[in-house]
């Protein structure tokens, strides 16, 4: 990795630190050429999910270049990076949500518990029940709170009668830390809740189908600080039972909740390391530039 650092032209680094925005834009293009492989510890023993040689294209445009990374069991891995760096796109590779975009094409090998999730006989619909997702904007269905949580279990036939379903809904809402607030209003519309409650409802909805991995795409970017704090606490509890990958724009959030952090830049995975290391002693110059706020 010292080689990589050395290959970075000194002029580029300097101009990045300058205050003028225009040369900076130019140097980003130069970096684009220079990122070569990922520094840090992208791989772990016995990973929950892993990706090798992942490329993603939107029509002719390549959005992700050769990403190789493992996601460990029961860990929270944070994905950070400037806007448009491909972190959300990569997250959506992991539950094949990109399949719903007709022009999107994904290559490489991706596994869940060693099983190829892009194999021909793999059903993306079933995969998404195992790898749940929480979106940036809370998106409860325009149904009652109960029906929102019961949506997945009903789809997949997880319960055989009403009382089992009731129990599952209650358990999911409890895990998402929402049950106390809504237990008397289960038949009220989910869209009537506050933003933070809606997002916890979406988390409850995701964990109701008992997934193995939960992907969170900037889950708190639309929420106020108090709601954010509640969700961050919730993530800490959820990590006991689930593996969580979270995309976030907030470096403080990444530092607070995650064990490992991956830094994406212009479609490339630049660095993966323990969160402490990334935020105190990053290996890559680009990571340091980003977390110290020089760009992004």
């Amino acid at each position: 990795m010292n080689e990589i650092l050395e290959t970075l032209p000194g002029t580029t680094t300097q101009s990045l630190q300058s205050d003028e925005p225009k040369p900076e834009a130019k140097t980003r293009d130069e970096f684009d050429v220079e990122i070569d492989g990922t520094v840090g510890q992208p791989f772990v023993d016995n990973p929950k999910m892993s990706s090798r040689n992942c490329d993603v294209f939107y029509a002719e445009k390549q959005a992700i270049f050769d990403v190789n990374v493992d996601i460990g069991r029961n860990e929270i891995i944070a994905m950070i990076g400037p806007s448009g760096c491909g972190k959300s796109t990569y997250l959506r590779v992991l539950n094949r949500m990109n399949d719903t975009i007709p022009i999107c094409r994904t290559t490489g090998t991706h596994t869940l518990d060693g099983e190829d999730i892009y194999a021909k006989d793999q059903d993306p619909v079933l995969l998404r029940a195992r790898v749940g997702m929480v979106f940036q904007k809370p998106n409860p269905f325009p149904k009652s709170i109960y029906d929102n949580v019961a949506y997945g279990p009903r789809l997949h036939g997880l319960t055989s009668n009403r009382s089992e379903l009731d129990d599952l809904v209650e358990a999911s809402l409890t895990k998402a830390g929402l049950f106390k607030e809504v237990k008397d209003d289960l038949q009220k519309p989910g869209t009537g809740l506050s933003g933070g409650q809606q997002q916890r409802l979406c988390i409850a909805r995701a964990i109701a189908v008992d997934p193995e991995v939960i992907l969170m795409d900037e889950p708190t970017s639309a929420l106020d600080p108090i709601a954010t704090a509640i969700i961050e606490e919730l993530m800490d509890d959820l990590k006991e039972s689930y593996t969580i990958a979270i995309v976030t724009h907030s470096m403080q959030q990444a530092a607070r909740v995650s064990q490992r952090t991956a830094y994406f830049h212009l479609g490339r995975l630049v660095e993966v390391n323990d969160t402490d290391k990334v935020f105190t002693n990053p290996e890559h110059q680009l990571t340091e530039n980003y977390i110290t706020g020089r760009f992004g």
Binding site: R128, A129, N139, K143, Y151, G152, L155
Partner: protein, 463 residues
């Protein structure tokens, strides 16, 4: 001066006023140290302001004057007539007045033998002349007063721009009210004619009677003129045909909307959506003869081949064709609301491991349901009001039946038959058309209100 000359001169005066006002504002601004920047508004606004001040009061006076002057002149002429002539009935007096007016306008007063009429015509001519003169003078005096006042108002701090803005706003309000007032006028006229009808036929009979046979007798000894006005068969016929039409249009329209918005790729959609909407642009008379000449015989033959007795003018044929016609109402509106369901809903559902059709059935349709219902209700209003297809394909006999294989008639068809041909305008037969129209109007109005309400509710959902 005749009225069009007054108008043309007035317009010329306004244009003159515009340039005068503009020039005046420049002069006023020029006299201050800082130049034009002292003006509150652009110079042209001062021009408009002068034109508005000169034009609007004059136009209003002209309008009011023209509306009332002829009746005033007429009554003044009448009061100049001898007493025994004034004592005549209204109609006769009207006739006499017409004669006098024609005499005055013909310019042949000297040829008239009756000295009373001659005098009256001369009196009328004089009054009309005075009236026109007075009107011209008053209108132009008011226009000039307005112009002078406006000119005096022009100062750098005058808010000409705001005044012009206010005038434009009121112009818009008046234009909008014209549409509303027309609607109110139509409703009122239908309502009063209907009330007239209900004085000769009881509303109970009309609303609950089951026999429709509107032939009233002209002579008392005429045969076959029972004159029953029970509207139930007509409304049942309308509902039957509309129901058949909706049975076609709702599933087909909804499915095509779902296909277009969720499954079709861009190219197919770009081609299919306008093509589908062409259906709504085909003249209904074309649908009508298509129904009468192609579909109805086809259905009758089909029915015969499986041993069913189908009337050659069946509700089914009319309903089927009408259903095709209103498909675009359902599909186009549903397509719009389905496309308006946020992508986040689809993502949320796919992210839970739902398939495409599960997502459509359980998330998208419920979310779009109010809008879809709105579209269906608009289509239903259209089906209820449709005339041409049913005139041609559904027949005229007012059978009270819910069997779509029989001939039925509808409210609109009966209105057409009641009013075609030579009619007396005060017979119950003719007035019945207004009562039917009122019933139809109320039905579609209720449907439209319900539809609009649902659409409004839908709008609130994602805002």
């Amino acid at each position: 001066m005749p009225i069009n000359t007054i108008l043309i001169t007035l317009v010329a005066l306004l244009i003159f006023g515009y340039f005068l006002g503009r020039k005046r504002s420049l002069a006023v601004a020029g006299s201050t140290a800082k130049g034009y920047s002292d003006l509150h508004s652009l110079p042209s606004y001062y021009g408009y302001m002068v034109a508005v001040w000169a034009g609007i009061p004059a136009l209003i006076i002209l309008l009011i004057w023209s509306a009332f002057s002829s009746s005033i002149v007429t009554s003044m002429t009448i009061s100049g007539l001898p007493e025994q002539m004034q004592a005549q009935s209204k109609q006769q007096l009207g006739l006499v007045m017409n004669e006098i007016k024609n005499l005055a306008n013909s310019g042949l007063i000297a040829n008239e033998t009756d000295p009373i009429k001659q005098a009256a015509a001369e009196h009328y001519q004089k009054l009309t002349h005075i009236n026109t003169m007075a009107k011209t003078v008053v209108v132009f005096v008011i226009a000039l007063i307005g112009l002078v006042l406006a000119m005096r108002l022009i100062k750098p701090e005058t808010r000409a721009r705001n005044i012009v803005e206010g005038v434009i706003r009121w112009t818009m309000i008046i234009c909008a009210s014209i549409a509303i007032l027309t609607t109110v006028g139509i409703v009122m006229s239908v309502l009063f004619e209907s009330l007239l009808f209900f004085t000769s036929v009881s509303p109970i009979e009309f609303l609950f009677g089951t026999k429709w046979s509107p032939q009233t007798s002209i002579r008392t000894d005429q045969v076959g003129s029972s004159g029953s006005f029970g509207a139930i068969p007509l409304f049942v016929g309308t509902m039957l045909i509309s129901a058949v039409a909706l049975c076609i249009a709702v599933p087909v329209g909804l499915m095509s909307a779902i296909y277009l918005s969720e499954y079709a790729n861009k190219n197919i959609r770009a081609f299919a959506k306008p093509t589908l909407e062409i259906l709504a642009g085909i003249p209904t008379v074309v649908y009508g003869f298509f129904a009468a000449l192609s579909v109805a015989p086809f259905i009758r033959n089909l029915g015969e081949s499986i041993g069913l007795d189908v009337a050659s003018e069946s509700a089914l044929a009319a309903g089927l064709v009408m259903g095709i016609m209103i498909i675009p109402f359902v599909s186009s509106l549903s397509d719009d609301v389905i496309s308006a369901v946020p992508q986040a809903m689809r993502d949320g559902s796919f992210g839970m491991g739902a398939t495409k059709s599960e997502t459509i059935r359980q998330v998208i349709i419920p979310a779009a349901l109010p809008g879809i219902v709105g579209g269906i209700l608009l289509a239903a209003s259209r089906a209820i009001g449709e005339t041409m297809i049913v005139v041609m394909a559904a027949g005229l006999s007012a059978n009270l039946t819910i069997n779509p294989l029989e001939a039925v008639t509808t409210v609109t068809v009966q209105i057409v038959t009641l009013l075609t041909g030579d009619q007396e305008f005060d017979s119950p037969k003719t007035l019945a058309a207004f009562a039917l129209g009122l019933g139809l109007f109320v039905t579609t109005l209720v449907l439209n209100i319900v539809a609009l309400h649902i659409i409004r509710k839908y709008r609130e959902q994602y805002e």
